[in-house]
Amino acid sequence: MAIGTKKERIDSLAESTADDSGVSLAASAWKRLRRSPVFLFGSFIIVAFIIIAVIAPWIAPHDPSARDLADQVIKARNQIPEPQPGHPLGGDLQGRDFLSRLLVGAQQTLLVGVFATLIGLAGGLALGTLAGAFGGWVDSLVMRIVDVMLSIPQLLLAFGIGALFAKPNLFTVILAVSIVQIPVFARLLRGSMLAQRGSDHVLAATSLGVKPGAIVFRHMLPNSLGPVIVQSTLVLATSIIDAAALSFLGLGNPDDRVPEWGQMLGGAQTVIDTHPQLAFWPAGCIIAIALGFTLVGESLRDALDPKNRR
């Protein structure tokens, strides 16, 4: 090798240690994430779907609610528009362009997933902080409520809440799905908050006369968020699936002019024998986006795992 080898080695060594200075735990986790193929693949899927959702109105070849192909639908014979020039995936039972509906459907699905997760996260953070910070009877009360909610199967609970509303709409779907996520977040946060309560650095902060509010919000909560952050990416996946399931069963937005994958899947039921592609495409999209979020969540969990920390 050339004479410069040794110097290069030292330089690269210096570089590898230098970019470690002044980094938070989040930054060092990000460094690991960037090299994780699982994370890259998962985030590629997510980013692709987000881009599709954003630009869908412009790239959709047709208006997703226009019944352009209505004349090709013969309900009695289960006949629907076949793929044809200008309509690569054909039409649905109402004669609307299927590809356009699929593209625009990404909007609703992501919207429901993100908002349901955010609302569930907010509720879970509030309850979990309450239980973990106060302990005692507050903790017992909150956790019993959470236990009751957890004892009902998640999807069933979402159906129950969804069915409470006489007129289901987008908001009721989000609400039903998000309420179901609250107990998971609450229990997770409460657990790590309790662990923080007995930790040395919280004891040390207490020994410095730090006020209880600052102990909770500066010392306990930030150190408890890791698992919750990971969980929220996984919950994004289940929210999307739950929302799709609600729509599939008719508890979703009844206005079917706005396309949504779960509801498209539901609509495909009657023709599934003759036209399985009507179920295949929305189902594939739901699986793909859920997989994307799950992969990101799993790799995030690995990256934030203290055992992997250098």
Partner: protein, 331 residues
């Protein structure tokens, strides 16, 4: 009046369905301003519980603390939570054993120093930062301005303990409790940290309660030593007297068990036989009796009382090591 007067401090842990466990049993000692007092004993003897009780850091449920802890004439055990919080960090400081876990991992060092300054001295963030850099410099952390923005995991063990000491001493408390501050550090760093502590308490006039199992630390730092066994003080003496002439068989055993560089090759270590698990309760005699080389029949029948044996020394033993045999200690 002493700065800190601990009288009959007793800590009982209650657990549902179990006999209460007395971790600290009528412990009394004084700390004068500027003085360094050692609490020495092996694991489980109650030394850490004593320090937590003084600071009011024991959990409210399950731990029953009685006795008095007079700090500048105020009984810390009778203060409200708020009054105690105002004293902690300002008048009373504490340094813990494990410097890594005692620092908040998600907050830069600087903010952890300024937190206590902002809390007790009402400094602005900016002024506190300047003060923090000054403090880090004082405890011997090089390039303090850079360190302020770093996170605990980026500092070495010794550096972290220095930072913790800086935090504990930020408001110049009159009393510092150091709970095994060097146990988690390697030997050379231990020596540095002890030197630092000695200099700081001397310069600031801070009284120091040094909790340790390490007699080397005691020898280098403490003016007065309380030896704890099973929650009670078994011997109390000035440092020099304790090392020259240990009277309690337990203290004697602790000193004899220190390996010596000048011992002949192949000589075996000289541990105290048995373990803390062999203790009998103080109520039915001397807790150390099952492990004591000097044990008499009376030791398992009558609880020894603490006696003043002159020269400010206190001793709790039926059959103390006689002063004639100190030569054996250095054998």
């Amino acid at each position: 009046m002493a700065l800190l007067e601990v009288r009959d401090l007793t800590v009982e842990f209650h657990r549902k369905g179990e006999e209460p466990f007395t971790a600290v049993d009528r412990v009394s000692f004084d700390v004068e301003p500027g003085q360094t007092v050692g609490l020495v004993g092996e694991s489980g003897c109650g030394k850490s519980v004593t320090s937590l009780a003084i600071m009011g850091l024991l959990p409210k449920r399950g731990a029953k603390v009685s006795g008095t802890v007079n700090f500048e004439g105020t009984d810390l055990l009778r203060l409200s939570d708020k009054q105690l919080r105002d004293k902690r960090g300002r008048d009373l400081g504490m340094v813990f054993q494990d410097p890594l876990s005692s620092l908040n991992p998600v907050i830069p060092i600087g903010l952890q120093v300024t937190e206590v300054l902002e809390r007790h001295q009402g400094l602005s963030r900016k002024a506190a930062m300047v003060e923090a850099a000054d403090l880090l410099d004082k405890v011997g952390i090089p390039d303090p301005n850079r360190r302020l923005s770093e996170y605990p995991h980026q500092l070495s063990g010794g550096m972290r303990q220095r930072a913790l000491i800086a935090i504990a001493l930020a408001c110049k408390p009159r009393l510092l409790i150091a709970d095994e501050p060097t146990t988690a550090l390697d030997v050379t760093i231990q020596a540095q940290i002890l030197t630092l502590l000695r200099e700081l308490v001397r310069d600031l006039g801070t009284a120091l309660v040094m909790i340790t199992h390490d007699l080397g630390v005691v020898a280098g730092l403490c003016d007065e030593v309380n030896v704890l066994y099973a929650g009670r003080v078994v011997e109390k003496a000035q440092r020099h007297e304790l090392f020259a002439q240990p009277r309690h068989p337990y203290t004697h055993g602790l000193l004899a068990s220190i390996p010596r560089l000048d011992a002949p090759r192949g000589e075996r270590l000289n541990p105290i036989r048995g373990s803390v698990a062999d203790n009998i309760p103080w109520t039915s005699g001397c807790a150390f009796a099952p492990r004591c080389p000097n044990v008499l029949d009376v030791c398992t029948e009558v609880t020894p009382v603490q006696e003043d044996i002159g020269g400010g020394r206190l001793l709790r033993c039926h059959n103390p090591v006689q002063p004639e045999v100190p030569q054996e200690v250095s054998a």
